[in-house]
């Protein structure tokens, strides 16, 4: 079945080459990081988690969001999602691989990663994160592949698939909840220390993940002529709209609580993110960009159902960028600034760090392209 992924147009091969080259550049940069140490990145004693952990957080959200298409299909028998479900699951597979890679490149001594299994520590949320992410990866590969295989052979999927699907629904919620708990359980970091963090993560995941899916649907329609019904995309756009509204509401609730209660330790992080401090106004554009972006995207989605596709695509892209800026950058960096010593250090990713990050994106893109190509080729041969 997978052999279909290796027959394509020149454009398709060029795309694969481009991704491979990017992944290779990332890999070479990583070898350099292995040699010199994480000092090669912009991270330091104050901002000790950076782009890697932030991207890890963002992509856990993308991975979890496949539940948005799985749930209506299996629990509400919404048959129209039948075609897109496989795309959601394969997006989840490649996103989980990306999250695992981001964790790996962030480790100081990656060769010891198996210590997490050799000395299991149930009191650590990182241990649980590894458990749920691995489980989620396996679930999605198994469910995705076997149900796709059944479709190809035009037979009923094996009966054990259904229970696995039902398990995968709460499991998807769990991966992003555990990821949020990594942060929200720390009393040392007031920005993260809020019970709203896990609900916020889920809301923003259900906005950003399906938005990625919408963009991907349009891309494969354009490139491969693979048509996903307009109705389906509309339905997903509605889900994104609701998720965005909840995301914005949660954000405002957080801001109200912090500003009205006026607790200095909590407020200082928000002041830094939104207003900056003399000498460090570095994150202001990103924070405002993310906040305003979320609101603009929400309004665009609201009016988009009467308009053409390009507006939906545009709103989806803004959603992804907005959530990435929030979860994939500002939230993690902002948690470390100000430091416990009330200092405001700057964090700027280095070129190596950027290449490693892009390399991981490319690796995820390669997996996604190959999986999607297989699906598309099969559908077109029918």
């Amino acid at each position: 079945m997978i052999e279909k992924a290796f027959k394509g147009t020149i454009g398709y091969w060029l795309w694969l080459c481009f991704l491979s080259a990017l992944a290779l550049a990332g890999f070479i940069s990583y070898l350099r990081q292995l040699d010199i140490g994480l000092g090669i990145t912009g991270m330091g004693r104050d901002v000790s988690w950076g782009l890697y952990i932030a991207n890890f957080t963002f992509f856990v959200g993308i991975a979890a969001s496949s539940v948005v298409v799985v749930l209506p299909y299996y629990l509400h028998d919404y048959k129209k999602f039948g075609d897109i479900i496989i795309l959601g699951e394969f997006l989840a597979v490649s996103s989980v691989v990306v999250t695992i890679l981001f964790i790996l490149v962030d480790l100081g001594v990656p060769s010891r990663v198996l210590n997490v299994l050799i000395y299991p520590s149930p009191s650590s949320l990182l241990f649980w994160d590894m458990v749920v992410l691995t489980g989620y990866l396996i679930l999605n590969i198994v469910i995705g592949w076997w149900s796709f295989d059944a479709k190809v052979k035009e037979i009923e999927p094996p009966i054990w698939i259904k229970p696995l699907v039902y398990i995968s629904i709460p499991w998807a919620i769990s991966i992003h909840t555990v990821t949020a708990f990594i942060y929200s359980g720390l009393s040392a970091k007031p920005l993260w220390h809020t019970a709203l963090l896990a609900p916020r993560f889920l809301a923003s995941a259900f906005a950003s993940g399906p938005s990625v899916l919408i963009v991907l649907c349009f891309i494969i329609r354009r490139w491969f002529g693979f048509n996903i019904e307009r109705d389906v995309i509309k339905k997903i756009a509605i889900i994104v709209t609701y998720a965005l509204s909840i995301h914005i509401f949660f954000m405002l609730a957080e801001i109200y609580t912090v500003l009205y209660s006026d607790l200095p330790s909590h407020k200082s992080h928000f002041e830094f993110l939104f207003l900056g401090v003399p000498g460090n106004r570095f994150l202001i554009p990103w924070t405002w960009g993310s906040t305003v972006g979320a609101i603009i995207a929400f309004v665009l989605f609201l009016i988009s159902h009467k308009k053409n596709d390009s507006l939906v695509i545009f709103a989806s892209i803004i959603t992804v960028v907005s959530i990435w800026l929030e979860k994939g950058f500002c939230l993690i960096i902002g948690g470390f600034v100000p430091t416990p010593f009330e200092e405001y250090p700057k964090y700027v990713p280095t070129i190596f760090e950027l290449f490693i990050t892009l390399g991981i994106y490319a690796a995820g893109g390669l997996i996604l392209t190959i999986l999607y190509k297989t699906v598309v080729s099969f559908r077109q041969s029918k």
Binding site: I36, G37, L38, G39, M43, G44, R45, D46, S48, W49, I103, D106, L107, G108, V109, P110, R112, V113, N115, V116, I118, Y119, S121, S123, S124, L125, L126, F127, M130, I182, G185, L186, S187, A188, K189, P264, S265, G335, F336, T339, P340, F341, E342, E343, P345
Partner: protein, 250 residues
């Protein structure tokens, strides 16, 4: 089930419960016995004695020399086991408009607080950091995977990461103490290696003003217990419930 079976089962259950109870009693008495033997190492730092010599860093230098702590030039790579900072930065929540002037030049020694309830230990995914029987927070440099979760969890910034190979930055290698490799976290160990030999911690020994007092809180007759009973002391961020073992005396 007949009556006989019923009696048998209840009998077995009763014996089980009773033996469980005795076991619990025995265990708890053992725990109590252990408690008496257990040390609770702590440190008290006197502000008034510490400020006597301006610019003095004898404690820091001695600690860093003995423990092979590298000296990085770039601030972001810095590794510190004990260091000094301003009063307002360390005790920001215990500052007011008057202390701001009064304590402006007061520098405060900072080190790992060896919390009774350490957030760093809880988050470690490999149990590479733990609280030993005497309450010291230890790190296994050969098990640490370098995820830096403990650094994010520490409210005192007491932990440093080896962003680069530290060896070229160690001025003079002390062969009696291990050096660390790049990619692991390290911090003050309350001189665990010295106190097991009956020595005082390196910083305490180095202080020319005897500003640092080290001892066992479980021993009511120890110097530190007596000092803390008679002098007013504060701890860093006590509201976090970590129960720090480093006290600051006014």
């Amino acid at each position: 089930m007949n009556r006989r079976d019923f009696l048998k089962i209840t009998g077995i259950l009763a014996i089980g419960a009773a033996s469980h109870q005795t076991a619990m009693i025995l265990l708890s008495s053992e725990v109590k016995g252990d408690q008496a033997k257990k040390k609770r190492w702590a440190m008290a730092i006197s502000f008034s004695a510490c400020v006597k010599r301006e610019g003095c860093r004898d404690c820091i230098d001695n600690c860093h020399l003995i423990h092979n702590v590298p000296e990085f030039t770039d601030n972001k790579d810095k590794i510190q086991w004990i260091w000094s900072s301003h009063y307002e930065s360390v005790f920001g929540e215990q500052t007011n408009m008057f202390t701001k002037g009064m304590l402006k030049n007061l520098s405060v020694l900072c080190l790992c607080n060896h919390c009774e309830n350490p957030p760093c230990v809880k988050v470690c995914p490999t149990k590479a950091t733990w609280k030993n029987k005497d309450g010291i927070i230890m790190i296994d440099y050969h098990r640490c995977i370098g995820c830096r979760y403990c650094m994010a969890a520490c409210p005192y910034d007491a932990r440093s990461f080896n962003w680069k190979d530290p060896k070229p930055f160690i001025k003079e290698i002390n062969r009696d103490f291990p050096t660390r490799a790049k990619g692991v976290v390290e911090k003050c160990n309350f001189c665990e290696e010295r106190i097991t030999q009956g020595l005082l911690p390196a910083c305490v020994e180095a202080c020319p003003e005897k500003a640092l007092t080290f001892g066992d809180l479980n021993d009511p007759e120890s110097d530190i217990s007596r000092l803390l009973k008679t002098r007013f002391s504060i701890q860093r961020k006590p509201h976090l419930g970590t129960d720090p073992k480093v006290f600051y005396l006014f």
